[in-house]
C-alpha cells in the first residue's frame, strides 16, 4: 500500500502536539489537545484508505482509480462525534470556571480557575496515610481521624455505649 509521506509526517506532528497539550493542567489547553488528537486520527484514517483518486461515483472513472469511500465515511462520523464532544468539554470548562468565580478562594488567580482540581478524597486518603505513618501504634480506624479532616464539623463526642 502506498502512503503519502506528508500526510504521515503531519499526523505525527499533530499527535505529538496533541499528547503534549493533553498533559497540561490547564483545561483549555487540554481541550486543544483533544482537538489536535481528533484531527490527527482523522488523517490517520485517511491514509489507511490508500492513495487518493477520483470521486467514488460509478461511471466517472474506472474502479481502480477511485479513492476509498469507506474511510471518508468513517472520518465524517468521527468529525461529528469530535465536534459534539468538544462542545460538551467546552461547556464543562466554562461551568468549572463559573463555579470557581462564584466561590472565590483566596490566592487563586484567574488562570488557576481554568485548571484541573485534585480529587478531594484522594487528598484526604493521602493525609490519612501520612497520619498513620506518624502514629502507627494505633492502626484501628479512629473516628476522630476522619472528623478532624471533615470541613468544619465539630469533633464527635467519644463513642457512647448504647443502652
Amino acid at each position: 500500500m502506498t502512503v503519502d509521506l506528508t500526510l504521515v509526517a503531519l499526523t505525527a506532528v499533530l499527535y505529538v502536539a496533541g499528547f503534549y497539550l493533553l498533559l497540561d493542567r490547564s483545561l483549555t489547553r487540554l481541550l486543544l489537545g483533544v482537538v489536535l488528537l481528533g484531527n490527527a486520527t482523522n488523517l490517520l484514517l485517511l491514509s489507511a484508505g490508500g492513495p487518493g483518486g477520483f470521486a467514488p461515483v460509478i461511471g466517472i472513472a474506472p474502479l481502480a482509480q477511485m479513492s476509498d469511500p469507506l474511510v471518508q465515511a468513517m472520518i465524517l462520523t468521527a468529525i461529528v462525534i469530535t465536534l459534539g464532544l468538544v462542545a460538551f468539554v467546552l461547556a464543562l470548562i466554562h461551568r468549572n470556571f463559573e463555579l470557581g468565580q462564584e466561590e472565590p478562594e483566596p490566592g487563586v488567580t484567574v488562570e488557576e480557575l481554568d485548571e484541573v482540581v485534585d480529587d478531594e478524597d484522594d487528598v484526604r486518603i493521602a493525609l490519612l496515610a501520612g497520619q498513620a505513618d506518624t502514629d502507627d501504634d494505633d492502626e484501628r480506624d479512629e473516628p476522630d481521624d476522619f472528623d478532624l479532616l471533615d470541613h468544619g464539623g465539630p469533633a464527635a463526642p467519644p463513642a457512647e455505649r448504647a443502652p
Binding site: T41, D121, D141
Partner: protein, 523 residues
C-alpha cells in the same frame, strides 16, 4: 424473526429518547414511555437469547437494510452477546425504577425537580450499550461506545455541581483518550486488512505478519482496557464514579466497564486466537485484583470503597480471558453476568444507606442494622455474594475460574489462583469492615437523621423494591447456576470455535421475505 428483532434494542430506546425529549414538560408521560420501552427491550432481549440458544449455530446475524454482509452493517446475536444483552437491559430497567423512586423522593426534599434531560439521556445510554453488544464490525462497536459514552458524560455531570464537574473532567478526558486510541486501532486494522467486519477480520488477520497482529491487538486492548478499568489503566474510575447520583453510579459501575470486558472477550477470541498476549493479560489481571482491593481497604467512603472493589473484580474476568481455555472463558462470562448484577445491587444499597443516614462516609454511619433492618439485609446479601461466600453465585463464579486456572496448571496460572483467593478474602475484609461500622456499631453522632419522615415512604418503597428485586435476581443466579453455567460454557465453546460467528455473518441463509434490490444498476 431475528431480522426484525435484532435492531430493536438499539432502535426503540433511541426513538423513545427523542419522544421523551419532546415530552420534557410532562414528567409522568416521560416516565411511562421510558419504563414501557425499557421493559419491551428487556423482553426482546430474552426472546433473542432463547432464539440464539435454540438455533443450529448458536449465533444469528442480520444485515441492516438488506445489503450483503460485506457491505452492510451486520448485527450478530450469539450466546455471549445475547446473555450480555439480557443482563444489561435487566440492569437498565431495574435501575430506571430505582431512579424514578429516588427522583420523586428527592423532589420532595425541596430540591428542584429532576432535570427533564435524565430520561432521554438514559435511553440513549441503553441504546449505546445494546449497540455495542450487537455490533458485528469494529466501527459500529466504536459508534456504540461513543453513543454510550456521550450519554454517560451528560449523566455524570447532571446538575453541574462542583464535585461532579471535577469528576466529569477526569472521566471525559480519559474516555476521549481511550476512544482516540480505539479509533487509531481501527485505522491500523483497516489499513492492514481492508475490512472492519469482525467475521471477515477473523478470516484475514491470521494472514498478517505476527508483529502487525500484535500491534493491532495492543492498540485495541489498551483502548478496551481503559474502558474496562484494567490496572494500570483504572485510576480514573474511583475518582469519577462515586460523585454521580446513585442510580447513575450503579448503572455505570455495573454495566459500562463490562462493555469494555465484553469487547476484550470478543476481539481476543475472534480476531486474535493465537494467544500472543495471554501472559500479559494474566499479569495485569493479578495486578488489577490486588491493587484494586488494597485500594478498597484504604477507603473511608462507602461508594469509593465499592468503586475500588469494582476495579479489583474486573481482574477476575481478565483472569478468565487470559487463560484462553473453554473453562476460563465460561468462568469469565458467568462472572461478568454475576458481577454486573451484584455491583449494581451494592451501589443501589449504598444509595439507600445514603438516603437513610444522610452520608456514605463510613465514619458517619452507625447503627443502621437497628434503624433500617431492610437496608441492612439488602446490603448484607450482595456484599457476601461479592466476597464469594458459598453457596452464592460469586462463589460459583470464582470456583469456576479457580478450576480453570488449576486445569491450565502453569506457575502463572497458579499465582492467579492464589491471587484470586487472597482478593476474595480481602474483599470479605473490606465489606465486613463497612458492615461492622455502618450497621452494627452503635450510633455516634446524632445529627444524622435516624429515620425518614412519613410521607417519603411511598417513593422509598420503589427504591427499596428495585434493590430487593436485584437481590432476588442475584439469588436467582445462584439457584439456577447449573443451567446458566451451562449456557456460559456453550457460549465459551462457540467463542473458541469461532466458526459459528463467522458462518452466521458471512454465510447467512437467504432471507425468507422478498428483499428490495439495491437501487441503481451497480455492476
Amino acid at each position: 424473526m431475528i431480522r426484525v428483532l435484532a435492531p430493536l434494542p438499539v432502535l426503540l430506546p433511541l426513538l423513545a429518547a427523542g419522544l421523551t425529549l419532546v415530552l420534557g414538560r410532562f414528567p409522568r408521560l416521560q416516565r411511562t414511555v421510558a419504563v414501557a420501552v425499557l421493559g419491551a427491550v428487556l423482553g426482546i432481549s430474552v426472546v433473542l437469547l432463547v432464539n440464539a440458544n435454540a438455533s443450529a449455530l448458536g449465533a444469528e446475524a442480520t444485515t441492516v437494510g438488506g445489503w450483503p454482509a460485506e457491505l452492510g452493517i451486520s448485527l450478530v446475536v450469539d450466546r455471549l452477546s445475547a446473555v450480555m444483552l439480557v443482563v444489561g437491559t435487566t440492569v437498565t430497567f431495574g435501575v430506571l425504577l430505582y431512579a424514578i423512586g429516588q427522583g420523586s423522593a428527592d423532589a420532595r426534599e425541596g430540591d428542584p425537580p429532576p432535570v427533564s434531560i435524565f430520561y432521554p439521556t438514559y435511553l440513549v445510554l441503553t441504546a449505546g450499550v445494546c449497540n455495542a453488544f450487537l455490533a458485528a464490525d469494529l466501527f459500529n462497536l466504536f459508534v456504540g461506545f461513543e453513543v454510550l459514552l456521550a450519554a454517560s458524560y451528560v449523566l455524570l455531570t447532571l446538575g453541574g455541581t462542583g464535585p461532579r464537574i471535577r469528576a466529569g473532567v477526569t472521566y471525559v478526558v480519559m474516555s476521549l483518550l481511550s476512544s482516540t486510541i480505539f479509533l487509531i486501532g481501527i485505522g491500523f486494522t483497516y489499513a492492514a486488512t481492508g475490512t472492519l467486519n469482525l467475521a471477515q477480520l477473523a478470516e484475514r488477520i491470521g494472514a498478517l505478519p505476527e508483529a502487525t497482529q500484535t500491534l493491532l491487538q495492543v492498540a485495541l486492548l489498551v483502548a478496551f482496557g481503559i474502558k474496562a478499568a484494567v490496572f494500570p489503566l483504572s485510576a480514573w474510575l474511583p475518582d469519577s464514579y462515586p460523585t454521580a447520583p446513585t442510580p447513575i453510579t450503579a448503572v455505570f459501575a455495573g454495566l459500562l466497564t463490562k462493555v469494555g470486558v465484553y469487547a476484550i472477550i470478543r476481539v481476543q477470541t475472534l480476531l486474535f486466537p493465537s494467544g500472543a498476549l495471554d501472559g500479559l493479560l494474566l499479569w495485569t489481571a493479578l495486578a488489577t485484583m490486588l491493587v484494586g482491593i488494597l485500594g478498597a481497604i484504604a477507603q473511608t467512603d462507602l461508594k469509593r470503597m465499592l468503586s475500588f472493589t469494582l476495579v479489583s473484580h474486573i481482574g477476575y474476568m481478565v483472569f478468565g480471558i487470559g487463560l484462553a481455555t473453554t473453562a476460563g472463558f465460561a468462568g469469565a462470562i458467568f462472572y461478568v453476568a454475576h458481577h454486573i448484577l451484584i455491583q449494581t445491587t451494592l451501589f443501589l444499597a449504598a444509595g439507600l444507606v445514603e438516603f437513610g443516614a444522610g452520608s456514605t462516609l463510613i465514619s458517619r454511619l452507625g447503627g443502621l442494622a437497628r434503624v433500617a433492618p431492610v437496608i441492612a439485609v439488602l446490603f448484607f446479601v450482595p456484599a457476601m455474594n461479592l466476597a464469594g461466600i458459598p453457596p452464592l453465585s460469586g462463589f460459583i463464579g470464582k470456583l469456576g475460574l479457580l478450576e480453570a486456572g488449576a486445569q491450565v496448571g502453569s506457575p502463572l496460572a497458579w499465582a492467579l489462583v492464589g491471587g484470586s483467593v487472597l482478593t476474595s478474602l480481602l474483599t470479605l475484609y473490606a465489606v465486613a469492615k463497612v458492615w461492622n461500622r455502618a450497621f452494627w456499631h452503635p450510633v455516634e453522632n446524632d445529627d444524622a437523621p435516624e429515620s425518614e419522615p412519613g410521607p417519603m415512604r411511598s417513593q422509598v418503597r420503589l427504591m427499596v423494591g428495585a434493590t430487593a428485586g436485584f437481590t432476588v435476581v442475584t439469588l436467582g443466579l445462584t439457584v439456577f447456576a447449573g443451567p446458566l453455567y451451562g449456557l456460559a460454557d456453550r457460549a465459551a465453546q462457540d467463542l473458541l470455535a469461532r466458526r459459528p460467528y463467522v458462518d452466521a455473518v458471512l454465510h447467512q441463509p437467504a432471507p425468507a421475505g422478498p428483499v428490495a434490490a439495491p437501487v441503481g444498476g451497480a455492476p
